[in-house]
Structure formats: C-alpha cells, structure tokens
C-alpha cells in the first residue's frame, strides 16, 4: 500500500485482500477432496472451502449483469452534457435512444428494429473493417520500414495466397501450413504465456492491496 491513504483506503485494500484470498483459496483448494488426504471429513472440508468462493463469484456475475445499468446511465450523462456543447452525434444518439425505448415499450418484445437497423449497420461496418484492414496492411512498410515490416507483409501475403483455392498456389500452401504450424503457433503461445504471466502478477498485486486504486 502506498503513502497517504486514509482509513477508507485501508479498508478497501483490506476488503480486496480478504475477497481475493478467499476466492483464490476456494478455487485452488476447494472441490478436490484428494488434497486433504483420505480422512473421513475431507469431502465436507473441500466443499466448505469451495463455498465462499462460489458465492462471491456468483455475486460478481450478478454485479456484472447489473453493470449494464451503469453503462446506460453513463451513456446518457455523457451525451446530454455533450449536447450542450452542440455535438450533433450526441443529439442523434439521444434521439435514437429515446425512439428505441418508445418502440420497445409500445411493441413488446419486437426485435425487428434491431434486425432492420443494428445488424445491417454493424454488418456494413464489418465490411468496412475489411477495407480498413487491407488498407492498413498496405501501409505496413510505411510505418515499419525495416526487416520486421517486410517479414510481416511477406507472411500476410503468403497466408492470404495460400487461402486461395488455386491449384497453382499449392507450394505456397505448403509454406503457409508450415508458417502457421510452427512459427505462428510458437509466437502465439509465447504471447499468450507473456500475457498470462502478466495477469498473474497483476492479479497478485491487486489481491495484496498494492494497486493504485486503493490509495487515497
């Protein structure tokens, strides 16, 4: 814990620590009687250890389900305040918000608005995504004018070509398979390992109350 925290900060750190350790122990030790040897009460012990963690996790899921309310309130607050500074998009957003509410209230459970408006728009954006990705890939050498940029582009081109159903590209397919199977797969695992390590360390730090959020 850092400096200058008040009583509130201390308690929030304490709560975080208690909850974190409880859930961690429950997950690590609970539901596996084998850990406690062959004693007669080991089943019950394991179940008891698992219980608080389960309860807390279920509470979190409930909180997360409710958090959408925070999100919607936030959306409204942000855009009402932006409205005063004359932002056109915020006006559109609020108007569509109101209209959608009206629609759902008057036609209970009718999802046609979602289907007719949201899905097509999102699909169109997804199509734009393709253009953005191609355009972005075409500028890689502009940003990384070095061997790594070249390598990146080469791999992209090989993999794309290999995905084409053209008989002439059979050798490229062999390269692509090799690339995907060995270097790409190795790189992916390395990245995931790095992320997992980071998650453990950050998680431990949060559990120990060393996160900045606990400081005043």
């Amino acid at each position: 814990m850092g400096r200058g925290q008040g009583v509130g900060a201390f308690f929030s750190a304490l709560v975080a620590f208690a909850v974190g350790v409880t859930v961690m122990l429950s997950l690590l030790l609970g539901d596996n009687p084998a850990l406690f040897g062959d004693r007669p009460g080991s089943d019950e012990l394991a179940r008891r250890i698992a219980l608080p963690g389960d309860v807390l996790l279920r509470l979190i899921v409930i909180f997360l389900a409710l958090s959408i309310v925070i999100g919607i309130a936030n959306l409204l607050f942000v855009h009402v305040s932006r409205l005063t500074s004359g932002k056109f998009y915020s006006a559109v957003l609020l108007a569509s918000f109101g209209f959608t509410i009206y629609w759902y209230v008057t036609r209970r459970g009718d999802t046609s608005l979602l289907e007719a408006v949201q899905l097509p728009i999102e699909s169109a954006l997804a199509a734009l995504l393709f253009v953005s990705l191609v355009h972005g890939s075409s500028r890689v050498m502009g940003k990384r004018n070095d061997i790594w940029g070249l390598l990146f582009v080469a791999v992209v081109v090989v993999v794309l070509l290999a995905s084409l159903p053209l008989a002439e590209l059979a050798p490229v397919k062999a390269w692509s398979d090799w690339l995907m199977r060995i270097p790409v797969s190795a790189g992916v695992r390395a990245m995931l390992l790095g992320i997992a390590l980071g998650m453990v360390v950050t998680g431990v730090r949060a559990v120990l109350g060393q996160d900045r959020s606990y400081r005043g």
């Binding site: 972005g136 790095g194 980071g198």
Partner: protein
C-alpha cells in the same frame, strides 16, 4: 498431471509470485533510480504525445476496449488503469482532460476513478465514455470513430482488449493525422495493432506499461517479477526441450547434452542482456 498435482503447483506458483512481488518491491525501493529498464520504442513516444496534447490543447484518448473489471481480463483492465494513471499525470499540465473510453460497463467506475486520481489540477473533468458492449464490439469501434471525429484527440492509446475492430479505430485516427499506440490481449487485436498503429506493444509489455509510463521510475516491481518468471520459464522449457531431444537420440552422450545446454543458456542470457 492430475488435478491435485496441478492445484498444488498453482498454489506454489501464486505463493512464489507473492514472495517475488514483495522482494522486488523491497529491492526496487532501494535502488529505484538506478534500475535501467529495457527500452521499448512504444513508450518513448509517450512523452512527446503527452506534450503534444498539452500544447495543442486537445485531449488524449485512452481506450480500455473490452477489458472489463470482473471478467477474465480484469487484470488487463487494472494494469491499464495504472498505465493510464501515469499518462494522465503527464498531461496534467494541460487544460483538456483526457478521454477514457470502454466497452465494458463495469470498467466505467474504474476509468472514472483513474481520471479523477490522475487529473490533479482540478477543472473540468471529462466523463469516461461507455459504448455498448462487450468483446469485439463493432458498435464501440464506430462510436470511437465518432469521438475521433468530434473531439479531435491529439493521440490515442488503445491499451486493453480489442479484436480486429481495432482496425476501424486506428484507421480512422490515422486519416486525421492522430497518432496511436496500441496493444491488446486478444491475438487478432494484437496483430492489427502491430500492423497499423504507429507504436505497438506486445504481450506482457501490456502489463509493464505502468512502470514505463511512471515519470518517477517507480513501480518496476511487477516488471521485475515478470522478468524473473519469464526467465525461469524459458530456462525450464529449454531444459525440457533438451531432455526430450536427448531422449529421442540415445546415441547422444550426456556430456554433449550438457555442453549444448550450457551454450543455449549462454546464448539466451546474452540475448536477454543485450535487449
């Protein structure tokens, strides 16, 4: 490996991490100033962007993506909050507070808290902006493109959880001449970040970001612990690999294996130190 063994190893791993974190804190505090961190190009751009934001009186945009408190990428959200905290402190001399956006509703309070703590100078504070919803949200990408158009941020830091929809945002920013630093814990987002962003971080750099962004060079303990684990992991994998190789080649003598491992270890250390 059965469940029990796995659980025992997990407990040991977590306990060891706890010990390492405290040890690193202790030693880190003693020689915080002298510790030289490996240079990462992405972070070198930060001071420039912070100053750019101040001098152009435009906000910096910090995006969590779908990194959500309470979800499996909670650690990502926490690490990025720490990172953003330092970034916000850097732009604290300006008169426009940064914009924080997220597509995970549970991250809104975290984002707002980060803003409030980092933005010490008082004055108008922006609200963290949430756009619906969840992983790989195209809606979020579209809304952020709108923010890019209407708020004209000076630069963007996309650090959190993004899928391929990151391309829409970075592209939109690039067309308006706004720089971007990007990193994601999702592989597709990471690929897009590398290809399209001006600066990209990779893998665990996402979690070390805070110690790089901190102006006073504090908080390198996490980075140190991660380094230690990573080094151990690499060594472990190397040893296992060598053992496997040795097993496949019965004609291979033990001295040869030992020499090969030493050479590999040396090479690894060399590469590690040279970075």
């Amino acid at each position: 490996m059965d469940d029990t063994t796995l659980q025992v190893y997990s407990v040991l791993f977590v306990l060891a991490t706890v010990v390492l974190v405290y040890t690193a804190r202790y030693f880190g505090a003693r020689r915080a100033r002298r510790r030289a961190q490996r240079q990462i190009a992405g972070f070198d751009a930060l001071p420039g962007w912070a100053e750019g934001a101040i001098e152009s009186s435009r906000p910096l945009h910090l995006a969590f993506g779908s990194a959500g408190v309470g979800e499996d990428n909670t650690a990502v959200a926490l690490a990025e909050a720490e990172f953003f905290h330092h970034v916000i402190q850097r732009v604290g001399a300006g008169d426009v507070s940064p914009i924080i956006s997220t597509s995970a509703a549970a991250t809104v309070p975290l984002g707002q808290d980060t803003l409030r703590r980092g933005w010490q100078r008082g004055g108008a504070l922006t609200r963290t902006q949430w756009y619906p919803q969840g992983r790989r949200s195209i809606g979020y990408a579209a809304a952020v493109s709108g923010v890019i158009e209407s708020e004209r941020p000076s630069a963007h830091i996309f650090a959190g959880s993004f899928g391929s929809e990151l391309a829409l945002m970075i592209d939109s920013a690039a067309r308006r001449g706004q720089g971007s630093l990007a990193v994601s814990d999702q592989l597709q987002g990471q690929a897009v970040a590398y290809a399209m962003a001006d600066q990209a971080l990779i893998g665990e750099e996402l979690f070390a970001a805070a110690s790089y962004a901190a102006e006073d060079g504090r908080a390198p303990a996490d980075a140190m612990v991660m380094d230690v684990w990573r080094a151990l992991l690499i060594m472990g994998m190397t040893v296992v690999l060598l053992l496997e190789v040795a097993k496949q080649m019965p004609w291979l003598s033990w001295p040869a294996v030992a020499v090969a491992s030493l050479v590999l270890l040396g090479l690894g250390l060399l590469v590690y130190r040279r970075r």
